[in-house]
């Protein structure tokens, strides 16, 4: 059922792509995906539990002892950053989910799933780039749970997600909670 829905949305969006300009398309696509259409498209990362050094407590599927740094938004270990590759905006004047003053969020992005060791839940997060100023240069963080190569663009963190911004200069990255992942 989900797969079929995916194909439907994909076909609709491709139809849109053929009929509209790049920017026009992105706007229309955004509307299509906002709201309930969002869920079925979300790829679920299998990686968060497999992370080395975070063994599962027997029978629970939850890590036994979450690292303290897993709850520090300025640390690359922060649970929400499970697949960020770039500079943490929380070190650049933003927070884990807000862009620094004077930058512009990327409207397009990629999506992943991160495990929160505090409440034991998996959350769907969107990894957005903040754009329009040169590299922040602070708190480089490279994590790749569930990350895929560029041909699967929606799961890739190598490309510059500022690419569609008026100013595609990459400054830093945030991780925004979209909701709890379905099981």
């Amino acid at each position: 059922m989900q797969q079929r829905f995916d194909r439907l949305v994909e076909r609709a969006s491709r139809g849109l792509a053929r009929r509209t300009s790049r920017r026009g398309f992105l706007g229309a696509f955004g509307m299509v995906l906002t709201g309930s259409a969002l869920m079925p498209l979300l790829p679920i990362s299998r990686g968060s539990r497999a992370e080395a050094g975070e063994p599962a407590a027997p029978g629970t599927g939850k890590p036994m002892s979450p690292k303290a740094s897993a709850s520090d938004p300025n640390s690359c270990d922060y649970w929400k950053y499970c697949a960020i590759d770039g500079f943490l905006c929380s070190c650049c004047g933003g927070t884990s989910s807000t862009c620094p003053p004077g930058t512009t969020p990327s409207p397009i992005t990629w999506i992943g799933t991160c495990h929160n060791p505090v409440d034991g839940r998996d959350y769907i997060v969107s990894y957005n780039d903040c754009c329009g100023k040169t590299s922040c240069g602070q708190c480089t963080c490279v994590r790749n749970e569930g990350e895929k190569p560029m041909y699967r663009l929606s799961l890739n963190n190598d490309v510059n997600w500022c690419m569609a911004n008026d100013n595609p200069n990459y400054h830093c990255s945030v991780s925004v909670i979209m909701g709890v992942a379905g099981k």
């Binding site: 807000t98 999506i111 409440d119 839940r121 957005n128 929606s154």
Partner: protein, 395 residues
């Protein structure tokens, strides 16, 4: 051009719209409740604080990409940054609402057509307000200081220093965003601003140890100039061009550690008696060094100098200690040690101007230290901010 195939990847997502309904229906456990969806937005700047720092990172290994960090000393965190081009000269307006950056760009990174501009950044939004295109003469020096680009004390004019190597200044009308004119400075450098009554003046250091002072009118035209007697000896003990502004002029320290005050509060520049920060025994063994080696806090009349043990030619070595001297009694109040092994020596310093001042110290390893300027206590350390911090500002 054939673009008929399906041309967009199907799974791109717009992330502004977190759907919290989605979270509520799938939570696997009854308590605690799941985290709420977040909404991506742009952080707003907090209200201004006297403990904000503007820190110029020259990015020396990638010098076309300098930037200015805005940093909150109380919370020990970066607030954001401005781009600053190539050898940017930086000044913060007296009302601390604008950062002016005079810099150089090329049409292709570091090649192509050169354009020098004066950019105005909005400090309340960290966004670019506008620019004035300059003639391609802007001074490019690693000896950043408060007087390579400076506002007149009333914020009405900006003085851009030029060096081609002929030296001149361009006078900018800030409100009109317009270059009024250019005045030759007879090989003298810097632009130390002052107002005598209603007359706007700019003073500069000359090769023969004199101070040149140029008076200009509201149209930016020179109306008179005067040259002082020599007030320092360039050959025996030169003063650093990197100095610190005072309410009436500037304090410059010399290579050997003497303090030269320039007092522009009267009709003619005055040069109060020179006094030493070093004892007779220390002289020649301990000396000032680094990049911005002197800081000043007016109401407590304290002067902070980055000092190191070393001989001739070590005047760019960072300080292993910060020496605190009372500018009225000329007594040394303290010697604070810098953890050189961890951070490198003290390279740039500035004191905030409020009644509970902080002393910001940028080090040779581009760490940023936040000290209590009264006690010397290290309040916060940023192990590395940017690549090469070369100037600190606090308007």
């Amino acid at each position: 051009m054939r673009l008929s195939g399906p041309s967009l990847l199907g799974v791109l997502l717009i992330a502004f719209a977190g759907n919290s309904a989605l979270a509520a229906t799938t939570a696997p456990e009854p308590a605690p409740p799941p985290l709420a969806a977040e909404h991506l937005k742009v952080e707003a700047m907090p209200a201004w604080s006297p403990h904000w720092l503007y820190a110029f990172d020259d990015s020396f290994n990638n010098e076309t990409d300098a930037r200015v960090w805005v940093y909150d000393g109380d919370h020990g965190r970066a607030l954001g940054q401005f781009e600053a081009g190539y050898y940017g000269n930086v000044a913060v307006s007296p009302d601390h609402k604008t950062t002016a950056i005079a810099t150089t760009y090329w049409s292709r990174g570091g090649h192509g057509t050169r354009t020098d501009v004066l950019e105005f950044e909005d400090n309340t939004k960290l966004s670019l307000q506008g620019e004035i295109v300059l003639t391609s003469k802007k001074a490019q020096s690693g000896a950043m200081g408060p007087f390579n680009l400076s506002y007149s004390p009333d914020g009405r004019f900006l003085y851009v220093t030029n060096l081609t190597p002929a030296a001149s200044i361009s006078i900018v009308d800030v409100a009109a965003r317009k270059i009024l004119g250019e005045i030759d400075t007879d090989a003298c450098v810097l632009a130390i601003p002052s107002i005598d009554g209603t007359r706007h003046r700019v003073s500069m250091l000359c090769e023969n140890g004199r101070l040149l002072t140029i008076v200009h009118d509201d149209a930016g035209k020179e109306t008179s100039r005067s040259v002082s007697k020599p007030f320092f000896d360039v050959d025996k003990d030169p003063i650093f061009v990197q100095s610190v502004a005072t309410p009436t002029g500037a304090y410059h320290v010399s290579f050997m550690g003497d303090v030269y005050e320039i007092d522009l509060s009267a009709a003619d520049p005055r040069f109060p008696a020179v006094w030493p920060t070093v004892s007779a025994k220390e002289r020649g063994h301990w000396r000032p060094g680094g990049q911005q080696m002197v800081a000043y806090h007016p109401s407590s009349h304290r002067l902070y100098v980055a000092m190191h043990a070393g001989g001739e030619g070590t005047h760019k070595l960072g300080g292993s200690q910060v020496w605190v001297t009372d500018t009225i009694t000329h007594k040394r109040l303290a010697r604070w040690s810098i953890d050189e092994k961890k951070y490198g020596g003290a390279f740039c310093m500035i004191a905030t101007q409020d009644e509970h001042p902080l002393l910001f110290v940028a080090t040779e390893k581009s760490s940023l230290l936040v000290l209590d300027a009264t006690t010397g206590k290290l309040l916060h350390a940023e192990d590395k901010l940017g690549q090469t911090l070369w100037q600190l500002l606090n308007p």
